[in-house]
Symmetry: C2
Subunit: 491 residues, 2 copies
Amino acid sequence: MAKDFPTRAENYSQWYNDLVIKADLAETSAVRGCMVIKPSGYAIWEKMQSILDKMFKDTGHSNAYFPLFIPKSFFSKEASHVEGFAKECAVVTHYRLKNSSDGKGIIVDEDAKLEEELIVRPTSETIIWDTYRNWIKSYRDLPLLINQWANVVRWEMRTRLFLRTTEFLWQEGHTAHATREEAIAEAEQMLSVYADFAENYMAVPVIRGIKSPNERFAGAVETYCIEALMQDGKALQAGTSHFLGENFAKAFDVKFLSKENKLEYVWATSWGVSTRLMGALIMAHSDDNGLVLPPKLAPTQVVIIPIYKNSDQLAVISETAVKIKNNLQAKGISVKYDDRETQKPGWKFNEYEFKGVPVRIVIGPRDLENGTVEVARRDTLEKSVYQIIDIEKKIVNLLDSIQDNLYQKALAFRDENTRKADTWEEFNTLLDTKAGFVLAHWDGTPETEQKIKDETKATIRCIPLNNTPEEGKCIYSGKPSKQRVVFARAY
Amino acid sequence: MAKDFPTRAENYSQWYNDLVIKADLAETSAVRGCMVIKPSGYAIWEKMQSILDKMFKDTGHSNAYFPLFIPKSFFSKEASHVEGFAKECAVVTHYRLKNSSDGKGIIVDEDAKLEEELIVRPTSETIIWDTYRNWIKSYRDLPLLINQWANVVRWEMRTRLFLRTTEFLWQEGHTAHATREEAIAEAEQMLSVYADFAENYMAVPVIRGIKSPNERFAGAVETYCIEALMQDGKALQAGTSHFLGENFAKAFDVKFLSKENKLEYVWATSWGVSTRLMGALIMAHSDDNGLVLPPKLAPTQVVIIPIYKNSDQLAVISETAVKIKNNLQAKGISVKYDDRETQKPGWKFNEYEFKGVPVRIVIGPRDLENGTVEVARRDTLEKSVYQIIDIEKKIVNLLDSIQDNLYQKALAFRDENTRKADTWEEFNTLLDTKAGFVLAHWDGTPETEQKIKDETKATIRCIPLNNTPEEGKCIYSGKPSKQRVVFARAY
């Protein structure tokens, strides 16, 4: 299975693409830039969704659903938003097809041209704030805390499975508040939710920060983000949370009567994560043997494989295997017992290793005699012999330990690959030889940031929250700076 | 709240529209024919989704995700499918917008015209079978049992919230099988799943049947359906399951190597239910006082309302209320304790009655002295006094009893409104004076069915499964018939 599969060192980019396809997670489709998410990949996404959805509900949010289409004119209403989002997008111009006169197929019916074109949503601020105008009249209607799970479309020129696709799946939260302070608190709260999810479920350490103006969401006053580091030393933005100020309320005329009986504009946030997280998850932990999944997001956490010579042996082994399976399931662990006779044990070992099942339990006749099983963990590939008698408790502990190990390993990797640069030369050398996060001084101007990007392809990933003040000089302009910011080349 | 709200008898259609909007379930949007599903409505849809999703997984299906867009040419590949689906649909022709030269807004960039137009999926058979071609090589790859939760778009001219909207949410199952028999068994199994869901969760009795050729899904060999009766005597198709034969396998060249080493076409099914079920649910049970929800689908099953004169009283009542709430939640019941001081008890009574919360518990100072509470059930509006001491068990029983009562009431209504017609005159009189299901003989020809539809607006809802054979004469043509079929005017 893992043949024709380059190692990370040989070709990281190819390693990722091959892994996604060979592990049956996703594939390209007949539609340019759009992916098919296969059952194995979608099962991981469903786990992500259900955990995030609970986190959103626990913080007071409700789900709703808004239209796929947005009238073209809506995009012109928020000045900076139109620049960021209304350009590369799918445009619906007609609503009917008809048989072609030559009988060779179907063609667009020119009589069915829309008066105003519809844009397939690249993000939903405009249609949602157009709707909120009717929902919000008084301070009693606030805060309005809504999330939507949806598909969105951005016409990307270069696409990569999960990381950048024309259509992708995501959630977008859109909240409305009576005060600036409440809206900022909400944006910061949702950043914490995302960071919690990344670190405690995905086992991916992240830097929490704010974006520089150049990298800010189109229409936002402040964009908060979490930034992760991949194994090739490139950064990946894993989630963003925006404080939108009164921008969309003003663009869509959304006002409320305050407790003091004054008509005021509403304060807004929006925040989202997408199937891009799948790319981050795969890239962060997997190795040259295939996928590695943190137990909390693995659709199958434990696989049990029997080794036997005949059906009598299988029957005896199955009795124990099913008992272990049931006991593990009773503890909330998802277990697959693969007793298929159509595949050999060696094939099964490779298969589940490649697909990232965290724990493999192997039971053979000799094991049974000894009251033991062989347990292999996917993250380190280590094998141990476990007594059957208290196996459930040990497997629970092992899963916890794998989850923790993956996080610690990713954290150590990030720490090793976060370096300081104090000169332009150092900065360039680090980017070209070591990659990773580079902490450097910046003079705070968009012009300098743009020049650094043009010359090195590195961007400011974020200005970390609670950053340590430090006097220094901008690596590019030499002008004074009061803190280091995080630079990296990014996905 | 229920002011300006007609009764069902006054204007059933207006009653439904007003109910959907005033109960905050959904509303029309700025985009023609597309709805916004509001949090209260979406919460019901989420309950439906989670129950159905479990049913699909319990019957061996996995979820996946396929592209929103379908190349236009795909629709021409299955001859009858193109007639049914490739006409009234949203067509994407361009992928970029630009600033207009007059600076007044944004316009479509004519340089960014797609070589081949993309259709926003009205249903996904074509793109999915194009994908399955690469997934299915051998009998070992079968059966392939996949479901997708997605949004779809059909450019409807007349739309109604939930019942018929341009964009709607649904699930679509698409399965592939080695034999005709297996595919038919799958289509029938999924019809049973839908019927089980309609009857045991929605509390809506349904007739299981097959569609006449005129009403069959475009591309299907056989369409199975469940048909429900609404309170105005009109039928509503609540779900369909299609046996697609080898039609899509042939159109997209999907073959497999059989156990006998022969290359054969794959057999297919597809099946779906949509947010239309929300319309059925609302119409089936609600009354002139507002929404009525079966407990199994009610996002809030029990509301507790305190009655008090001062904050000391409230504190004492709250102690008991919270205890009851926690005990009910421990039994898996969703409970809201509404102790808001901003609204009066009477307002709260109306609110939760209108929004269909199945059970209301009211606690006042006198109740506490007696160790009792007042319990009102939404379905019959009856009130009872319950001892607090064993209230949890009684509430569980009450919810079961409401669920059962709603089903029995709907079943009795359907039975009362299912009548036989033996002549054309009888048939017309029944349709015009009583509505409901009319069981009548039909000669089995599409021509007669079409004429009956043209003259009466009634369609054959289905030919019931396990129908009783009965010799008779077609009500329209007088030709011989061997069974009665179900006619009705329908949504």
